[in-house]
Symmetry: C2
Subunit: 314 residues, 2 copies
């Protein structure tokens, strides 16, 4: 059994083509029905404004599977600690023995989440997408844009966040770290007005993006909602989109955007894995609006953990 810390993990895994390929292969296996993925285990610890989620999946034929434990304690910043944390434990899929423990402190979740956004954009956005609007100014606002650069020729960023200080810090970071010009906006609508791709990255519990904010041809990835009380998209976006994709329908209906759709959602919904496995090209015109809701799946965790452990051991 091997134990790795965050420093060792960040040295081998990042927002790269091959990490993206590993996560995409996990989604494809899910789409081919080759993945066992139980529902998320979730526990609230209300006295500390905390929660903990456990996700897992086994990809048929893979030697290892991961179990990921993700605590989120939202009063931590008051203590000078990060809200998110966690670790992944890799097990042999042959014997159940512990293979390795990745004390990544949530890093691999950040990476696989950003890569899922890039994978969605690769299959749904216009190939010439060069402008991204980001709602929110946290870590995923950074990583989603960085990951999009793996699949689309991103040249400019538009941001809207409620907190003006964080929005300014984001502008500075993205310009310095990635050389990307960032324009700050007073509203989501304004940020989206010049965007080919829109990514919502907030912990919002009511819509931060509305159908009327979107211009024709936009692709939207909503990655914030992963809990029944969270919601980023006005339901009209789900109803009116030309193409609606989710990472896992059962999750979107319980902890993602479909959970908030009034009544039953009767329109067509594609799963991202199916789309990849079957080489579908759901966007059939540059004017269509495509939407992908990501709630975060265990198969991404197993895929990125297996990828990381192989690199650490190699």
């Amino acid at each position: 059994m091997k134990i790795y810390n965050r420093e060792q993990i960040t040295a081998v895994t990042g927002l790269t083509e091959d990490a993206l390929a590993a996560v995409e292969a996990g989604f494809a296996a899910l789409g081919r029905g080759e993945v066992t993925m139980p529902p998320v285990l979730s526990m609230n610890i209300s006295e500390s404004n905390g929660e903990v989620d456990v996700k897992t999946a086994h990809i048929r034929g893979k030697d290892r599977f991961a179990i990921k434990i993700s605590p989120g304690f939202f009063d931590n910043p008051k203590l000078g600690l990060p809200s998110l944390n966690g670790l992944m434990v890799l097990f042999s899929a042959k014997t159940g023995m512990v293979d390795s423990v990745l004390f990544d402190e949530g890093y691999l979740t950040d990476i696989r989440t950003a890569l899922a956004g890039a994978i969605a954009a690769r299959h749904l956005s216009r190939e010439d997408s060069r402008s991204v609007a980001v709602i929110g100014a946290g870590l995923q606002a950074e990583l989603q844009v960085a990951a999009l650069g793996l699949v689309r020729p991103i040249r400019e960023v538009h941001v809207f966040a409620r907190n003006a200080d964080r929005m300014e810090a984001y502008q500075e970071l993205m310009e310095q770290k990635y050389g990307l010009p960032v324009t700050m906006h007073p509203s989501a609508a304004s940020a989206c007005a010049q965007a080919d791709i829109v990514v919502t990255t907030t912990p919002a519990s009511s819509p931060v993006l509305h159908w009327q904010d979107l211009r024709p041809g936009t692709h939207v990835t909503a990655m914030g909602s992963d809990n029944s009380h969270k919601q980023e998209l006005e339901p009209a976006i789900l109803a009116n989109a030309d193409v609606l994709v989710v990472d896992r329908r059962s999750q979107s209906e319980t902890i993602g955007e479909l959970h908030h759709f009034p009544g039953d959602f009767t329109g067509p919904v594609l799963e991202l894995g199916t789309l990849i496995a079957e080489h579908m090209q759901p966007r059939t015109s540059p004017a269509q609006i495509t939407v992908c809701d990501l709630s975060g799946t265990g198969v991404q965790d197993t895929a990125i953990a297996d990828y990381t452990a192989a690199r650490l051991a190699g």
Copy 2:
């Protein structure tokens, strides 16, 4: 963050009065409604005849909670490896930071499971119970009897197991290790004929114990079933018992004995935690037959892990 191995853990935690008190306090908190305990996460890995369960619970006011990961890979003995395995991760209930990792390889599960049997017997069996019948001859057949010694004056053991070699090995072990005389029996009925307490400790998928096997005054603990396909008790035992107790009703109905009851179970069912919290004495005569179904709860895991970590740190 601290990491402990099995050797360190076995040195501080075993079948003792204070470990029993720790687990009993966990059940009592559950009975008082002070525990958050989500449903078990369970995943099958059928290509390896394996499964993995994740259990957790938070006891209000406690500084730590545990998440336990228990793989069971039932072809492992062919490879010279144990079937059961696992670890517990303790987190701060204030910040979600990892407090410690207990690489106990399933040891603490064995202990807290045996202690739950003793707790059930303390509250349900006759105080003068001195004779135990055990169905099965594995590790729990040993530990359940050893733990019963904490709460009742156990003087003799009767065993029935299908595998005669294992039954003989069990007889030898119990006599040498605990000085307890063990009588081997050709059937469960025969073993139960002289027993005050009966414990079923098998992975059976059809009843190993029948109502007609039980003499008046017996207490039965069924600890084997923890999966929807497992069953140890004939449903008539549940229906006819004077007192029926379960560790967690929702679990008994999905992965325990109540799951196999034909139709809805309409009789009274007590939870073990309620009984402890409310100082109930459900046995009102020495002739009554009491039954407790244990499927294993996350609160036991958090209780034993917290107890162990405190001793390791102290």
